[in-house]
Protein backbone atom coordinates (compact mmCIF):
# COMPACT_ATOMS: atom_id res chain seq x y z
CA UNK A 1 0.00 0.00 0.00
CA UNK A 2 1.52 3.31 -1.00
CA UNK A 3 1.61 5.93 1.75
CA UNK A 4 2.10 9.00 -0.35
CA UNK A 5 -1.41 9.37 -1.76
CA UNK A 6 -3.16 11.34 0.93
CA UNK A 7 -1.10 13.85 2.84
CA UNK A 8 -2.78 13.14 6.12
CA UNK A 9 -1.49 9.60 6.34
CA UNK A 10 1.71 8.59 8.12
CA UNK A 11 3.78 5.80 6.63
CA UNK A 12 4.61 2.84 8.88
CA UNK A 13 8.08 4.17 9.58
CA UNK A 14 6.80 7.59 10.57
CA UNK A 15 7.30 9.59 7.36
CA UNK A 16 4.98 12.10 5.79
CA UNK A 17 5.95 11.30 2.25
CA UNK A 18 4.30 14.35 0.72
CA UNK A 19 6.44 16.58 2.91
CA UNK A 20 9.58 14.71 1.87
CA UNK A 21 8.61 15.05 -1.77
CA UNK A 22 8.01 18.75 -1.24
CA UNK A 23 11.55 19.02 0.04
CA UNK A 24 12.71 17.35 -3.18
CA UNK A 25 10.89 20.07 -5.11
CA UNK A 26 12.80 22.62 -3.09
CA UNK A 27 16.09 20.99 -4.02
CA UNK A 28 15.26 21.63 -7.66
CA UNK A 29 14.92 25.37 -7.17
CA UNK A 30 17.77 27.80 -7.75
CA UNK A 31 20.12 28.43 -4.88
CA UNK A 32 19.54 31.13 -2.31
CA UNK A 33 22.03 32.09 0.37
CA UNK A 34 21.58 34.22 3.49
CA UNK A 35 24.16 35.70 5.85
CA UNK A 36 23.52 37.55 9.08
CA UNK A 37 26.15 40.14 9.91
CA UNK A 38 26.29 42.40 12.92
CA UNK A 39 24.95 45.51 11.17
CA UNK A 40 23.80 44.18 7.84
CA UNK A 41 21.80 41.18 6.61
CA UNK A 42 22.35 39.79 3.11
CA UNK A 43 20.32 37.56 0.83
CA UNK A 44 21.74 36.34 -2.46
CA UNK A 45 20.04 34.24 -5.13
CA UNK A 46 21.18 32.52 -8.28
CA UNK A 47 19.46 34.21 -11.17
CA UNK A 48 17.92 31.65 -13.44
CA UNK A 49 18.73 32.16 -17.12
CA UNK A 50 15.77 33.74 -18.89
CA UNK A 51 14.65 33.26 -22.44
CA UNK A 52 15.78 35.93 -24.93
CA UNK A 53 12.41 37.59 -25.26
CA UNK A 54 11.59 37.47 -21.52
CA UNK A 55 11.80 40.61 -19.47
CA UNK A 56 13.94 39.50 -16.57
CA UNK A 57 12.80 42.22 -14.20
CA UNK A 58 9.54 40.33 -13.66
CA UNK A 59 11.32 37.37 -12.08
CA UNK A 60 12.19 38.47 -8.58
CA UNK A 61 13.15 35.87 -6.05
CA UNK A 62 13.80 38.32 -3.24
CA UNK A 63 10.61 39.91 -1.87
CA UNK A 64 10.21 42.46 0.88
CA UNK A 65 7.55 41.65 3.47
CA UNK A 66 7.70 44.97 5.32
CA UNK A 67 10.13 47.86 5.74
CA UNK A 68 12.36 45.83 8.01
CA UNK A 69 11.93 42.21 6.80
CA UNK A 70 12.53 40.55 3.45
CA UNK A 71 12.84 37.00 2.21
CA UNK A 72 14.11 34.74 -0.56
CA UNK A 73 12.79 31.30 -1.40
CA UNK A 74 13.73 28.14 -3.26
CA UNK A 75 11.17 25.90 -4.92
CA UNK A 76 7.81 26.50 -6.61
CA UNK A 77 7.49 30.20 -7.44
CA UNK A 78 3.69 30.10 -7.48
CA UNK A 79 3.54 28.67 -3.95
CA UNK A 80 5.97 31.32 -2.79
CA UNK A 81 3.75 34.08 -4.16
CA UNK A 82 0.88 32.92 -1.93
CA UNK A 83 3.07 32.75 1.16
CA UNK A 84 4.57 36.18 0.48
CA UNK A 85 1.12 37.73 0.04
CA UNK A 86 -0.17 36.27 3.29
CA UNK A 87 2.97 37.29 5.14
CA UNK A 88 2.69 40.86 3.86
CA UNK A 89 -0.91 41.08 5.07
CA UNK A 90 0.05 39.65 8.45
CA UNK A 91 2.86 42.18 8.85
CA UNK A 92 0.37 45.01 8.40
CA UNK A 93 -2.23 43.32 10.58
CA UNK A 94 0.37 43.05 13.35
CA UNK A 95 1.21 46.73 12.99
CA UNK A 96 -2.47 47.60 13.22
CA UNK A 97 -3.25 45.51 16.29
CA UNK A 98 -0.04 45.77 18.27
CA UNK A 99 1.08 49.21 17.03
CA UNK A 100 4.61 47.89 16.58
CA UNK A 101 6.39 46.26 13.60
CA UNK A 102 6.35 42.47 13.71
CA UNK A 103 9.57 40.84 14.86
CA UNK A 104 11.34 38.65 12.29
CA UNK A 105 10.64 35.66 14.52
CA UNK A 106 6.91 36.45 14.61
CA UNK A 107 6.52 36.59 10.87
CA UNK A 108 8.65 33.45 10.46
CA UNK A 109 6.42 31.68 12.96
CA UNK A 110 3.35 32.83 11.06
CA UNK A 111 4.69 31.55 7.74
CA UNK A 112 5.67 28.25 9.34
CA UNK A 113 2.19 27.85 10.84
CA UNK A 114 0.63 28.29 7.41
CA UNK A 115 2.98 25.68 5.99
CA UNK A 116 2.25 23.26 8.83
CA UNK A 117 -1.49 23.70 8.43
CA UNK A 118 -1.19 22.49 4.86
CA UNK A 119 0.58 19.33 6.01
CA UNK A 120 -2.35 18.47 8.24
CA UNK A 121 -5.38 19.17 6.06
CA UNK A 122 -7.01 16.75 3.71
CA UNK A 123 -7.19 17.53 0.06
CA UNK A 124 -4.24 19.91 0.20
CA UNK A 125 -0.59 19.45 -0.57
CA UNK A 126 2.26 21.10 1.34
CA UNK A 127 3.89 24.27 0.01
CA UNK A 128 6.89 23.37 -2.12
CA UNK A 129 9.18 26.10 -0.88
CA UNK A 130 11.83 26.72 1.72
CA UNK A 131 12.42 30.32 2.59
CA UNK A 132 15.16 32.44 4.11
CA UNK A 133 13.72 35.34 6.08
CA UNK A 134 16.00 38.15 7.20
CA UNK A 135 15.57 41.47 8.86
CA UNK A 136 16.02 43.62 11.95
CA UNK A 137 13.67 43.72 14.93
CA UNK A 138 12.65 47.16 16.11
CA UNK A 139 15.20 46.87 18.91
CA UNK A 140 17.97 46.54 16.31
CA UNK A 141 18.89 42.84 16.53
CA UNK A 142 19.49 41.19 13.12
CA UNK A 143 17.92 37.81 12.40
CA UNK A 144 18.08 35.11 9.74
CA UNK A 145 15.51 32.31 9.80
CA UNK A 146 14.96 29.37 7.49
CA UNK A 147 11.60 27.64 7.03
CA UNK A 148 10.92 24.41 5.17
CA UNK A 149 7.82 22.66 3.75
CA UNK A 150 7.16 20.75 6.97
CA UNK A 151 6.57 23.98 8.85
CA UNK A 152 9.65 23.95 11.07
CA UNK A 153 11.87 26.99 11.35
CA UNK A 154 15.32 27.62 12.78
CA UNK A 155 17.54 30.61 13.28
CA UNK A 156 20.86 30.62 11.44
CA UNK A 157 24.00 32.71 11.22
CA UNK A 158 24.35 31.78 7.55
CA UNK A 159 22.52 29.24 5.42
CA UNK A 160 21.68 28.17 1.89
CA UNK A 161 18.65 26.51 0.28
CA UNK A 162 17.83 25.09 -3.14
CA UNK A 163 20.07 23.41 -5.66
CA UNK A 164 23.58 22.64 -4.33
CA UNK A 165 22.59 23.92 -0.91
CA UNK A 166 24.83 21.34 0.70
CA UNK A 167 27.94 22.56 -1.13
CA UNK A 168 27.20 26.15 -0.31
CA UNK A 169 26.50 25.37 3.34
CA UNK A 170 29.80 23.50 3.63
CA UNK A 171 31.56 26.50 2.10
CA UNK A 172 29.85 28.78 4.62
CA UNK A 173 30.79 26.55 7.51
CA UNK A 174 34.41 26.61 6.44
CA UNK A 175 34.63 30.32 5.75
CA UNK A 176 32.27 31.95 8.25
CA UNK A 177 34.28 33.99 10.75
CA UNK A 178 32.58 35.81 13.59
CA UNK A 179 34.99 38.79 13.36
CA UNK A 180 34.27 39.24 9.66
CA UNK A 181 30.61 39.82 10.46
CA UNK A 182 31.47 43.14 12.09
CA UNK A 183 32.30 44.56 8.68
CA UNK A 184 29.46 45.08 6.21
CA UNK A 185 31.72 44.53 3.19
CA UNK A 186 33.02 41.21 4.51
CA UNK A 187 29.49 39.96 5.21
CA UNK A 188 28.41 40.81 1.66
CA UNK A 189 31.57 39.27 0.25
CA UNK A 190 30.92 36.01 2.12
CA UNK A 191 27.47 35.72 0.56
CA UNK A 192 28.83 36.41 -2.93
CA UNK A 193 31.74 34.00 -2.50
CA UNK A 194 29.35 31.29 -1.37
CA UNK A 195 27.14 31.80 -4.42
CA UNK A 196 30.10 31.93 -6.81
CA UNK A 197 30.92 28.36 -5.75
CA UNK A 198 27.84 27.02 -7.48
CA UNK A 199 26.74 29.65 -9.97
CA UNK A 200 27.91 29.39 -13.55
CA UNK A 201 29.55 32.34 -15.28
CA UNK A 202 30.15 34.47 -12.22
CA UNK A 203 28.62 37.76 -11.15
CA UNK A 204 26.17 38.06 -14.04
CA UNK A 205 23.94 35.39 -12.57
CA UNK A 206 23.79 36.68 -9.02
CA UNK A 207 21.09 38.87 -7.51
CA UNK A 208 21.85 40.34 -4.12
CA UNK A 209 19.80 42.28 -1.57
CA UNK A 210 21.14 43.85 1.60
CA UNK A 211 19.58 45.68 4.52
CA UNK A 212 21.47 47.75 7.02
CA UNK A 213 19.98 48.54 10.42
CA UNK A 214 17.31 51.29 10.22
CA UNK A 215 17.55 51.40 6.43
CA UNK A 216 15.30 49.86 3.82
CA UNK A 217 16.18 46.90 1.66
CA UNK A 218 18.56 47.63 -1.20
CA UNK A 219 18.92 45.41 -4.26
CA UNK A 220 22.44 45.80 -5.60
CA UNK A 221 22.80 46.72 -9.26
CA UNK A 222 24.95 44.65 -11.58
CA UNK A 223 27.93 47.07 -11.42
CA UNK A 224 28.09 46.92 -7.63
CA UNK A 225 28.03 43.12 -7.72
CA UNK A 226 30.80 43.14 -10.34
CA UNK A 227 32.89 45.36 -8.05
CA UNK A 228 32.61 42.87 -5.23
CA UNK A 229 33.34 39.97 -7.58
CA UNK A 230 36.49 41.65 -8.88
CA UNK A 231 37.61 42.41 -5.32
CA UNK A 232 37.02 38.78 -4.37
CA UNK A 233 38.97 37.54 -7.37
CA UNK A 234 41.94 39.80 -6.62
CA UNK A 235 41.95 38.57 -3.02
CA UNK A 236 41.86 35.00 -4.26
CA UNK A 237 44.83 35.59 -6.58
CA UNK A 238 46.76 37.19 -3.76
CA UNK A 239 46.07 34.23 -1.51
CA UNK A 240 47.19 31.81 -4.25
CA UNK A 241 50.43 33.76 -4.76
CA UNK A 242 51.08 33.73 -0.99
CA UNK A 243 50.58 29.98 -0.92
CA UNK A 244 52.94 29.48 -3.88
CA UNK A 245 55.58 31.66 -2.23
CA UNK A 246 55.52 29.71 1.02
CA UNK A 247 55.65 26.43 -0.89
CA UNK A 248 58.75 27.40 -2.85
CA UNK A 249 60.47 28.52 0.34
CA UNK A 250 60.34 25.06 1.78
CA UNK A 251 61.41 23.28 -1.36
Amino acid sequence: MSYDRAITVFSPDGHLFQVDYAQEAVKKGSTAVGVRGKNVVVLGVEKKSVAKLQDDRTVRKICSLDNHVFMAFAGLTADARIIVNRARVECQSHRLTVEDPATVEYITRYISSIKQRYTQSNGRRPFGISSLIVGFDFDGTPHLYQTDPSGTYHAWKANAIGRSAKTVREFLEKNYKEEDMESDTDTIKLAIRALLEVVQSGGKNIELAIMKRDESMKILVQEEIEEYVTAIETEKEKAEKQKKKTLTLFD
Binding site: E90, S93, H94, T97, V98, E99, D100, T103, Y106, R109, Y110, S113
Partner: protein
Amino acid sequence: MALFDVSGYKSHSELRGQILGTGVGHLIDRPNQQFAVPVGVDPSGFLKSCSREGGVSIDLNHGTTTLAFKFRHGVIVAVDSRASAGSYIASKEANKVIEINPYLLGTMSGSAADCQYWERLLAKECRLYKLRNKQRISVSAASKLLCNMMLGYRGMGLSMGSMIIGWDNKGPGLYYVDDNATRLSGHMFSTGCGSSYAYGVVDSGYREDMTVEEAYELGRRGITHATHRDAYSGGVVNLCTMQEDGWIKVCKEDVSELIHRYRKGMF
Protein backbone atom coordinates in the same frame (compact mmCIF):
# COMPACT_ATOMS: atom_id res chain seq x y z
CA MET B 1 -19.84 24.62 19.38
CA ALA B 2 -23.31 23.13 19.70
CA LEU B 3 -25.21 26.42 19.99
CA PHE B 4 -23.35 27.76 17.01
CA ASP B 5 -24.45 24.91 14.80
CA VAL B 6 -28.02 24.83 16.03
CA SER B 7 -28.66 28.53 15.66
CA GLY B 8 -27.69 28.59 12.00
CA TYR B 9 -25.78 31.78 12.69
CA LYS B 10 -23.04 31.15 10.14
CA SER B 11 -23.93 33.76 7.59
CA HIS B 12 -23.71 36.61 10.05
CA SER B 13 -20.39 35.46 11.41
CA GLU B 14 -19.00 35.18 7.90
CA LEU B 15 -20.06 38.75 7.26
CA ARG B 16 -18.52 39.81 10.53
CA GLY B 17 -15.38 37.96 9.52
CA GLN B 18 -15.25 39.88 6.26
CA ILE B 19 -15.59 43.20 7.99
CA LEU B 20 -13.37 42.61 10.97
CA GLY B 21 -10.91 40.26 9.26
CA THR B 22 -10.63 36.53 9.60
CA GLY B 23 -7.45 34.62 10.24
CA VAL B 24 -6.10 37.23 12.55
CA GLY B 25 -3.37 34.79 13.36
CA HIS B 26 -2.09 34.54 16.86
CA LEU B 27 -3.16 37.93 18.04
CA ILE B 28 -6.79 37.41 18.94
CA ASP B 29 -8.31 34.20 20.14
CA ARG B 30 -11.52 35.23 18.30
CA PRO B 31 -13.37 36.07 21.50
CA ASN B 32 -16.26 37.35 19.35
CA GLN B 33 -17.21 33.80 18.55
CA GLN B 34 -17.54 32.76 22.14
CA PHE B 35 -20.94 34.47 22.09
CA ALA B 36 -23.11 33.22 19.29
CA VAL B 37 -26.03 35.62 19.42
CA PRO B 38 -28.93 33.35 18.48
CA VAL B 39 -31.15 34.02 15.50
CA GLY B 40 -34.04 36.30 16.34
CA VAL B 41 -32.26 38.16 19.12
CA ASP B 42 -31.43 41.71 18.20
CA PRO B 43 -29.64 43.44 21.06
CA SER B 44 -29.43 46.84 19.39
CA GLY B 45 -33.15 46.87 18.56
CA PHE B 46 -34.04 45.88 22.11
CA LEU B 47 -31.93 48.66 23.54
CA LYS B 48 -33.54 51.26 21.32
CA SER B 49 -36.90 50.27 22.69
CA CYS B 50 -35.63 50.89 26.21
CA SER B 51 -34.75 54.52 25.80
CA ARG B 52 -37.17 57.25 26.81
CA GLU B 53 -39.90 57.30 24.11
CA GLY B 54 -40.23 53.54 23.83
CA GLY B 55 -41.97 53.15 27.16
CA VAL B 56 -39.85 51.50 29.77
CA SER B 57 -36.71 53.48 30.33
CA ILE B 58 -33.70 51.50 31.41
CA ASP B 59 -31.07 54.02 32.25
CA LEU B 60 -27.67 52.45 32.06
CA ASN B 61 -25.61 54.70 34.20
CA HIS B 62 -21.99 54.28 35.08
CA GLY B 63 -22.05 54.58 38.83
CA THR B 64 -18.41 55.01 39.78
CA THR B 65 -15.53 57.36 39.91
CA THR B 66 -12.14 56.25 38.65
CA LEU B 67 -9.18 58.37 37.72
CA ALA B 68 -5.63 57.96 36.49
CA PHE B 69 -2.92 60.43 35.59
CA LYS B 70 0.69 60.32 34.45
CA PHE B 71 3.34 62.35 36.16
CA ARG B 72 7.10 62.40 36.26
CA HIS B 73 7.53 59.30 38.40
CA GLY B 74 4.90 57.06 36.88
CA VAL B 75 1.13 56.74 36.77
CA ILE B 76 -1.34 57.13 39.65
CA VAL B 77 -4.54 55.09 39.62
CA ALA B 78 -7.34 55.85 42.09
CA VAL B 79 -10.82 54.31 42.17
CA ASP B 80 -13.79 54.29 44.51
CA SER B 81 -15.45 51.08 45.67
CA ARG B 82 -19.22 51.50 45.60
CA ALA B 83 -21.25 49.06 43.52
CA SER B 84 -24.81 50.31 43.01
CA ALA B 85 -27.86 48.69 41.43
CA GLY B 86 -30.14 51.67 40.92
CA SER B 87 -30.43 53.30 44.32
CA TYR B 88 -29.45 50.14 46.19
CA ILE B 89 -25.81 49.99 47.30
CA ALA B 90 -24.84 46.45 46.47
CA SER B 91 -21.32 46.63 47.87
CA LYS B 92 -19.16 49.19 49.62
CA GLU B 93 -15.96 47.33 48.91
CA ALA B 94 -16.12 46.38 45.26
CA ASN B 95 -12.77 45.93 43.57
CA LYS B 96 -12.64 48.11 40.50
CA VAL B 97 -9.02 47.60 39.60
CA ILE B 98 -8.11 44.40 37.81
CA GLU B 99 -4.51 43.28 38.08
CA ILE B 100 -3.84 41.94 34.60
CA ASN B 101 -0.22 41.18 35.39
CA PRO B 102 2.54 42.78 37.51
CA TYR B 103 2.98 45.66 35.08
CA LEU B 104 -0.56 46.13 33.66
CA LEU B 105 -3.67 47.38 35.47
CA GLY B 106 -7.22 47.89 34.24
CA THR B 107 -9.90 50.00 35.91
CA MET B 108 -13.63 49.37 35.65
CA SER B 109 -16.62 51.63 35.40
CA GLY B 110 -20.04 50.96 33.97
CA SER B 111 -21.59 47.56 34.17
CA ALA B 112 -19.66 45.48 36.66
CA ALA B 113 -20.37 42.24 34.81
CA ASP B 114 -19.15 43.57 31.47
CA CYS B 115 -16.01 45.07 32.95
CA GLN B 116 -15.09 41.99 34.89
CA TYR B 117 -15.70 39.60 32.03
CA TRP B 118 -13.93 41.50 29.27
CA GLU B 119 -11.00 42.60 31.36
CA ARG B 120 -10.41 39.07 32.58
CA LEU B 121 -10.53 37.95 28.96
CA LEU B 122 -7.97 40.66 28.22
CA ALA B 123 -5.78 39.26 30.98
CA LYS B 124 -5.98 35.84 29.36
CA GLU B 125 -4.97 37.28 25.99
CA CYS B 126 -2.06 39.17 27.53
CA ARG B 127 -0.81 35.99 29.16
CA LEU B 128 -1.09 34.08 25.88
CA TYR B 129 0.77 36.87 24.10
CA LYS B 130 3.63 36.59 26.55
CA LEU B 131 3.80 32.82 26.17
CA ARG B 132 3.75 32.97 22.38
CA ASN B 133 6.10 35.87 21.85
CA LYS B 134 8.36 35.54 24.91
CA GLN B 135 7.90 39.23 25.49
CA ARG B 136 5.47 41.21 27.58
CA ILE B 137 2.63 42.76 25.65
CA SER B 138 2.88 46.52 25.23
CA VAL B 139 0.24 48.78 26.81
CA SER B 140 -0.87 50.02 23.40
CA ALA B 141 -1.36 46.46 22.16
CA ALA B 142 -3.30 45.44 25.28
CA SER B 143 -5.62 48.42 24.97
CA LYS B 144 -6.01 47.70 21.25
CA LEU B 145 -7.09 44.12 22.01
CA LEU B 146 -9.73 45.34 24.47
CA CYS B 147 -10.90 47.98 22.02
CA ASN B 148 -11.30 45.38 19.25
CA MET B 149 -13.32 43.16 21.58
CA MET B 150 -15.66 46.09 22.20
CA LEU B 151 -15.89 46.76 18.47
CA GLY B 152 -17.25 43.27 17.94
CA TYR B 153 -20.24 44.04 20.14
CA ARG B 154 -20.73 47.67 19.29
CA GLY B 155 -24.31 48.80 19.62
CA MET B 156 -25.34 45.71 21.54
CA GLY B 157 -25.54 47.32 24.95
CA LEU B 158 -22.17 46.63 26.53
CA SER B 159 -21.31 49.22 29.11
CA MET B 160 -17.66 49.63 30.01
CA GLY B 161 -15.43 52.61 30.58
CA SER B 162 -11.98 51.46 31.47
CA MET B 163 -8.44 52.67 31.62
CA ILE B 164 -5.47 50.47 30.82
CA ILE B 165 -2.37 51.50 32.70
CA GLY B 166 1.03 49.96 32.33
CA TRP B 167 4.74 50.37 31.89
CA ASP B 168 6.47 48.91 28.83
CA ASN B 169 9.65 49.69 26.94
CA LYS B 170 8.11 52.89 25.60
CA GLY B 171 7.68 54.13 29.17
CA PRO B 172 4.47 54.63 31.18
CA GLY B 173 1.26 54.06 29.23
CA LEU B 174 -2.29 55.25 29.92
CA TYR B 175 -5.18 54.46 27.59
CA TYR B 176 -8.93 55.01 27.93
CA VAL B 177 -11.10 52.35 26.28
CA ASP B 178 -14.88 52.34 26.33
CA ASP B 179 -17.81 50.29 25.08
CA ASN B 180 -18.02 52.33 21.84
CA ALA B 181 -14.51 51.06 21.08
CA THR B 182 -13.11 54.54 21.65
CA ARG B 183 -9.44 54.27 22.47
CA LEU B 184 -7.49 57.31 23.56
CA SER B 185 -3.98 57.72 24.84
CA GLY B 186 -3.50 60.57 27.28
CA HIS B 187 -2.00 62.00 30.42
CA MET B 188 -5.10 62.08 32.55
CA PHE B 189 -8.49 60.42 32.44
CA SER B 190 -11.43 60.07 34.77
CA THR B 191 -14.47 57.89 34.13
CA GLY B 192 -17.85 57.29 35.69
CA CYS B 193 -20.61 59.62 36.80
CA GLY B 194 -18.38 61.17 39.43
CA SER B 195 -15.73 61.98 36.87
CA SER B 196 -16.64 65.64 36.48
CA TYR B 197 -15.97 66.29 40.15
CA ALA B 198 -12.71 64.36 40.01
CA TYR B 199 -11.56 66.28 36.92
CA GLY B 200 -12.16 69.54 38.72
CA VAL B 201 -9.99 68.59 41.65
CA VAL B 202 -7.18 66.89 39.72
CA ASP B 203 -7.01 69.52 36.99
CA SER B 204 -6.57 72.29 39.52
CA GLY B 205 -4.01 70.47 41.62
CA TYR B 206 -1.92 68.83 38.91
CA ARG B 207 1.75 69.68 38.32
CA GLU B 208 3.98 67.50 36.17
CA ASP B 209 6.85 67.70 38.68
CA MET B 210 4.89 66.61 41.73
CA THR B 211 6.60 64.39 44.24
CA VAL B 212 5.28 60.90 44.71
CA GLU B 213 3.52 61.78 47.97
CA GLU B 214 1.87 64.84 46.44
CA ALA B 215 0.61 62.70 43.59
CA TYR B 216 -0.90 60.16 46.00
CA GLU B 217 -2.62 63.02 47.84
CA LEU B 218 -4.00 64.40 44.60
CA GLY B 219 -5.43 61.04 43.58
CA ARG B 220 -7.04 60.56 46.98
CA ARG B 221 -8.53 64.04 46.95
CA GLY B 222 -9.98 63.57 43.49
CA ILE B 223 -11.87 60.45 44.46
CA THR B 224 -12.87 61.76 47.87
CA HIS B 225 -14.43 64.94 46.55
CA ALA B 226 -16.22 63.01 43.83
CA THR B 227 -17.68 60.55 46.34
CA HIS B 228 -18.75 63.47 48.50
CA ARG B 229 -20.96 64.92 45.75
CA ASP B 230 -21.87 61.90 43.62
CA ALA B 231 -24.45 59.56 45.08
CA TYR B 232 -23.27 56.58 43.11
CA SER B 233 -19.65 56.72 44.30
CA GLY B 234 -18.36 55.98 47.75
CA GLY B 235 -16.80 53.37 49.95
CA VAL B 236 -13.01 53.45 50.05
CA VAL B 237 -10.33 54.93 47.82
CA ASN B 238 -8.13 52.22 46.31
CA LEU B 239 -4.90 53.88 45.27
CA CYS B 240 -2.24 52.16 43.14
CA THR B 241 0.80 53.50 41.38
CA MET B 242 2.54 52.19 38.25
CA GLN B 243 6.32 52.36 38.18
CA GLU B 244 9.05 51.01 35.98
CA ASP B 245 9.23 47.72 37.84
CA GLY B 246 5.48 47.21 38.06
CA TRP B 247 2.53 48.43 40.06
CA ILE B 248 2.21 48.67 43.83
CA LYS B 249 -0.88 49.07 45.95
CA VAL B 250 -0.48 52.23 47.96
CA CYS B 251 -3.47 52.52 50.22
CA LYS B 252 -7.13 51.79 50.84
CA GLU B 253 -8.80 54.53 52.89
CA ASP B 254 -12.40 55.18 53.77
CA VAL B 255 -13.73 58.32 52.10
CA SER B 256 -15.85 59.33 55.06
CA GLU B 257 -12.67 59.78 57.07
CA LEU B 258 -10.73 61.36 54.22
CA ILE B 259 -13.39 64.01 53.59
CA HIS B 260 -12.93 65.30 57.12
CA ARG B 261 -9.22 65.72 56.47
CA TYR B 262 -9.77 67.72 53.32
CA ARG B 263 -12.68 69.87 54.30
CA LYS B 264 -11.78 71.00 57.79
CA GLY B 265 -14.08 73.98 57.91
CA MET B 266 -17.08 72.20 56.48
CA PHE B 267 -18.29 70.00 59.34
